[in-house]
Symmetry: C2
Subunit: 249 residues, 2 copies
DNA sequence: CGTCATATTGACTTTAGTCAATAGAAGTGG
DNA sequence: CCACTTCTATTGACTAAAGTCAATATGACG
């Protein structure tokens, strides 16, 4: 972990505010409060956990740069990725209510995480009801994404699940300005994709090959290109409503 | 649907308050506010939807009696149950932030549902920060349950998933006083259990038989008895931490 | 008593998992 | 720049969990 306390708060919360404003405008005083709420910023390497299962954290984590994941580890060592977080996401807003974390949070790529003390969140609920509701909305979207994943896990084939995630990431990343030419950074390994969907690495590999064969996906290195978003969405049975985005595909 | 406006608010919110107090005491004024927030109470028959996918509800639903489920239906008609709600649960607290419901809510047994206008929830965020945080905590527990289901869907066998759910329901129902002699009402059909886990009815049936054969489960009609909770929990790999209950198994 | 939903059983199929080997890529230190 | 290690991706052969289809039983209820 690397500490970095000198960056301006403004760029830190830019993407979060952009996201929250999909719900309601965030006036200058709330923006200022959020900016000032960041106690520190830390950097982590891929694979590094910055919140551990069982912890009782005193601060919540805001992703500023890079990708992070919420992960549960079963007694037998098998892992399940519960959520993938991108810049602008509060990855454990809920943790401020929980006594013990039921899952950990790890960096998927090198990433920069802003820490907001729970005391500041409490203060928001005391003094800034509008912002409280905006964060509530963010929690609700987070839960909606989780539900969509749940449907995938229960009812969709490996092929559909992976196609669906690629669509979801396209929209989420686009909404924070991280997609260019239908291309975005996507640092998950095939093993991690398997952990997200409860699939074996082998099966993930074969499914990705199928998607590439059908020209729905081009991947080079850790970046992904979606040549035909509409076709991918159709193949995936993807309906973006749950994301609370108004974006067209 | 049947309307019923005459019941005292007090018994309506008893179980909710009991639950919220696991987080923080709920003083009389907050209790009174909640009581008064109930605009009406409705009754529904098994299978009846009281919130539909795509709705923009103006009120949230508190389960007073009976079981309800949050359900997503895929274009091909396949259903996925996202959550099972019991008395004392707010089943769509999050809906007040969402513009469109990404899932519906249906009665699993005959049930009695108290309706709380979203305006009242907004008022809570304006005037009762403590209660706001308690509800936030409730949302967080809800999400934790969803995550645990997600792990099940991804990483547990049918056998473990079903055993796990039986443990979860035992604790949740006990925490609201609905378990007696290790026995509780459990109105889900085998088809509905399948919808919850993404399993076929046939496979659910065979799995239940296995659990009964091993004397981990006794079921008569719509009631379920867990003769040996510890053994079931071991078989299920069940760790109750995520429920935020201090109950011993 | 008949109807409808629910539960059970058997035979066969499919999806995805496991094991094991190989190939590529990225990163490190000399 | 190269040899070396290590992680990641790919392939093949075989297995197992769970699905599908179809028939039958059981139970609740008007």
């Amino acid at each position: 972990m690397t500490l970095n306390k000198t960056l301006p708060g403004r760029t830190m919360i830019k993407r979060l505010v952009r996201k929250l404003e999909r719900f309601e405008p965030v006036p200058p005083n709330e923006r200022a409060f959020l900016k000032a709420a960041i106690a520190r910023v830390a950097e982590y390497d891929p694979g590094e956990y910055f919140v551990n299962e069982g912890d009782s954290p005193a601060e919540s984590c805001l992703v500023v740069e890079g990708f992070a994941a919420r992960i549960k580890t079963l007694p037998n060592g098998v892992r399940q990725i519960m959520a993938i977080h991108i810049p602008g996401d509060f990855c454990d807003l809920h943790s401020f209510a929980l006594k013990r974390m039921d899952h950990g949070i790890a960096a998927l790529s090198r990433c920069k995480i802003a820490k907001v003390p729970h005391a500041k969140l409490t203060e928001i609920t005391e003094r800034l009801p509008r912002l409280t509701r905006a964060l509530w909305w963010d929690l609700a979207i987070d839960a909606a994404i989780l539900r969509e994943w749940m449907v995938g896990a229960g009812r969709r084939s490996a092929y559909h699940q992976i196609a669906h995630l690629l669509c979801e990431m396209l929209l989420r990343l686009r909404s924070v300005g991280l997609v260019e030419d239908n291309t975005y950074a996507f640092p998950l390994t095939q093993a991690e994709l398997g952990d997200a969907f409860g699939l074996s690495t082998v099966h993930v590999n074969r499914t990705l090959q199928a998607l590439r064969r059908e020209h729905l996906l081009i991947s080079k290195g850790r970046a992904v290109t979606i040549p035909n978003a509409k076709a991918l969405a159709t193949a995936a049975g993807f309906d973006p409503t749950y994301l609370g985005l108004s974006d067209v595909l």
